[in-house]
């Protein structure tokens, strides 16, 4: 684990990368990483996230700034700009049921080859997917999803990179930290090793590559 500055982000993240980004309508999203992507015009991104938030918030700002070429998300209803870009063919959007998205990200992180879910059976979500019947119930085989980067937001880190999330800002963050090749965590503060109890650490430092402390340019 290495602590980095906003400027150093631009040496690590290349345009055209795929990135999982934590957050739920902006809550638990790494806003300063997003700020830097916008300032440095790092575009052509494939974004895997719960949603595209609002035009002026979180991942929505990446969309408005035209840095996203593809989005794999469960919801775009709160961001008219995503809908507009999608309808005009400027952005590719793959809609995934939220629970399925969570399990697909998790599957990658924990080394499963896929999961069987009843969600989406008999709907357009089933199209092009393998189905299996287990005990008379039909399931969709949903496959793991991976990315080069995970941009996550935690409340606190310790100097080993152990992360602790807060309330509903947790959401997809710990799942994404497990699933990407390079994990960059934006945190509000860094505390001494040992000051977060073993039960309050949600993501271990050994899987975190970089820490960006908010407000440190």
């Amino acid at each position: 684990m290495k602590t980095i500055t906003r400027k150093e982000l631009t040496e690590i993240i290349r345009p055209g990368s795929s990135a999982m980004i934590g957050g739920f309508l902006g809550c638990g999203t790494p806003d300063e990483i997003i700020d830097e992507l916008i300032v440095s015009r790092i575009g052509g991104l494939t974004v895997i996230a719960n949603d595209t938030a609002f035009p002026d918030r979180g991942i929505g700002r990446l969309v408005v700034n035209r840095l996203v070429s593809r989005a794999i998300v469960s919801h775009i209803g709160t961001n008219p700009e995503t809908q507009r870009q999608m309808i005009e063919g400027e952005i590719e959007v793959e809609l995934v049921p939220q629970g399925t998205l969570a399990e697909r990200v998790r599957a990658r992180g924990v080394g499963l080859g896929g999961i069987l879910t009843p969600t989406g059976v008999g709907t357009v979500v089933e199209e092009g997917k393998e189905t299996l019947v287990v005990g008379e119930q039909k399931y969709l085989l949903e496959l793991p999803i991976s990315a080069e980067f995970a941009f996550i937001k935690a409340k606190r880190a310790d100097y080993c990179g152990n992360l602790s999330y807060s309330l509903t800002a947790r959401n997809f963050n710990p799942l994404m930290a497990m699933a990407a090749e390079c994990v960059i965590a934006e945190v509000e503060e860094v505390v001494p090793v040992g000051s977060i109890s073993p039960e309050e650490i949600h993501t271990p430092g050994v899987i975190v590559d970089y820490i960006l402390v908010r407000g440190c340019r």
Binding site: F24, G77, Q83, M86, L167, T168
Partner: protein, 216 residues
Amino acid sequence: MDPREVIARRVAKELKDGDLVNLGIGIPTLVANYIPSGVNVFFQSENGIIGMGPEPLEGMENPDMTNAGGMFVTALPGAMAFDSAMSFGFIRGGHLDITVLGALQVDEKGMLANWMIPGKMIPGMGGAMDLVTGAKKVIVAMTHTGKGTPKIVRKCNFPLTSIRPVDLIVTELAVIEPGPEGLVLKEVAPNVSIEEIQKSTDARLIISDRLCEMTL
């Protein structure tokens, strides 16, 4: 009474003590305001909490504490936070007693369409597909028509949310229960006739033997 309040009040009567409940955005959210006294329920929100409380007082908002609509909420004593996989584990795993959602269309078989109007509006399914597939009881809370167009139809022509039928439809005019024979009209709102309801409904309604007036 405002139609939205009628719907929310009637849905609230379906909640039982100890239930784990998920309320969708819009009218469903209002249900929380009308929980019968003596009934204690736990609200789950897809974004990762059980034990969600009402909106905070001004100045007491916390950026890390929002509901699935992105609005600031509070945590009640005994609240629990978790990640998205766990959150949908509760939903898909059958631990959620009741989910209340809005609808674009519901049909004679109880099928729900609520996430997309082809070529027009594509908000995405969010958690709706998991909620309808996984909750023990699915209640649709919606105005009976959308700008005069019936939302209770013979067959949904918008994309379905799930092939699992909903358990109850509550509108400002009626309470309707999908069953093996079709949609059963169980309750009518005060001063509303069966004919008026059928007129605003594209699907054929079966009149329950025990039809009664909706009480709020």
